[in-house]
């Protein structure tokens, strides 16, 4: 049984401005001003290292927030059948895709001067690329289904299976070969970074998480309004 919760117009919030999104953008801009002008240049990599503050943070948002939450929402949807969870998973997928795209663009830009190659088939890169493919497939699947209940069930199944697949891809490519540096902050010993860099790095996590939350809320509101409109048109 699907709960066709028609959202109340007030909760859709069409008439009030959401400050979270502009705050997110300003925070990211502020972090970048700090990263470029007020954070020391890394000794070995030079200015190229500054891309860390967008690359690693986008990866964190995409992989550990967006897709982890998407898998949880998918699983919960199959149990609870609440349409809100489906709309949330849909929004997480699209916002996550945007951040993964940023990771996949900034990665090669950083890799070229440091590794000497735009791309390498390392475990993390491959897993990220395949996650990107799966999310594209997920969004295509959603687009190819008209009926809302079916769309929600199918995408939840795919979202859940994708979460099971990623460890397999990571593990098999790891067996194949690996080159990506190990994490430099979240590791048992102390982070290998100067204190100024660490502050910039940590604030960029905060800024990107704010931006993520802002984008997610905007995308979720869109999904809610779209479904509401559909319900009203169907009722007419």
């Amino acid at each position: 049984m699907t709960v066709h919760g028609t959202p109340a117009p007030a909760s859709a919030g069409a008439d009030h401005t959401d400050l979270l999104l502009p705050v997110g953008f300003v925070a990211v801009a502020a972090v970048y001003v700090r990263a470029i002008f007020f954070t020391p240049v890394e000794a070995v990599q030079g200015p190229a290292q500054k891309i860390l503050y967008v690359h690693a943070t986008s990866a964190f948002v995409a992989l550990y927030l967006a897709f982890a939450l998407m898998a949880v929402c998918s699983l919960l949807y199959l149990v609870l059948k609440d349409e809100k969870l489906d709309r949330l998973a849909e929004s997480l997928a699209e916002v996550g895709l945007a951040f993964t795209t940023v990771v996949l663009i900034t990665g090669p830009l950083w890799g070229k001067p440091i590794w000497g190659a735009w791309w390498t088939w390392d475990a993390r890169l491959t897993a990220t690329l395949f996650l990107w493919f799966i999310i594209l497939g997920y969004l295509l699947l959603r687009g190819a289904l008209e009926e809302r209940g079916m769309r929600a069930r199918y995408s939840a199944v795919l979202g859940m299976l994708a979460a099971l697949l990623v460890p397999f891809i990571h593990l098999s490519v790891y067996l194949f070969r690996t080159m990506h540096p190990m994490p430099i902050v979240l590791k048992p010993s102390a982070p290998s970074m100067s204190p100024e860099m660490l502050v910039t790095f940590m604030s960029s996590f905060l800024a990107f998480t704010l931006l993520f939350a802002g984008l997610l809320r905007a995308r979720y509101r869109y999904a809610t309004l779209r479904d509401l409109l559909q319900d009203r048109e169907a009722a007419r």
Partner: protein, 234 residues
Amino acid sequence: MPDVALATPPGMLRAAWLVARKDLAIEFRTRTAFFSAMVFALLGLTIFYFAWDATAVAAIDLAPGVLWVIFTFSGLLGLQRSFGIEQADRAMDALLGAPVDREAIYLGKALANIVFVAGVQVVALPAVGLFYNVPLGAVALPLAGLALLAAIGIVAVGTLFSAMAVNTRLAELLLPMLSLPFFLPIVMAAAQTTARLLAGRPASEAWPWLRILLAFDLVFVVACTLAFPFTVEE
């Protein structure tokens, strides 16, 4: 169909077998999907050979990769058809109306698909041996076991996605788009193991890959069997 009048609904395994037998009977009488998958596999093997410089890359280095890529792609042809055949006259509704578990329908479909994929493999494997001049005879048995393990993984995921893709507007395009990322660990593990088998390396070198393959089969057979009822819910 079965000559016994079923007074009581069949058990899970028996129901799965009945579904598989139905699909295989349809396939055996028409043979269209099997022949197209077989010809596709043979054509693919031929074209791949000429996509490389045969003097630069030894055929024995090429064969494992080609074998498993072709195997996977031709398997998709059969998977496409798995739920496609249920669309005529809305046969799917009758199947869902039958007094059997949804899981049994999935397992039956998957079983028929494994037979289909294995059938293509029976043709493709000797063809690789012939065209790529690879001595497969000595490793035939481990290779057959490997093919079965790979087929189980491919079919587990592919059967589920076939049930989903058939209800969408982009059925033919969506099945490969959804399935291929899931086939990556299978193709890698199978190709790496085959390469080691052909090179006569000790089995311990292939063991980590086989473990991935076994784990994949286990996880996805269970997950897809449990997920299938959600894809046919009314």
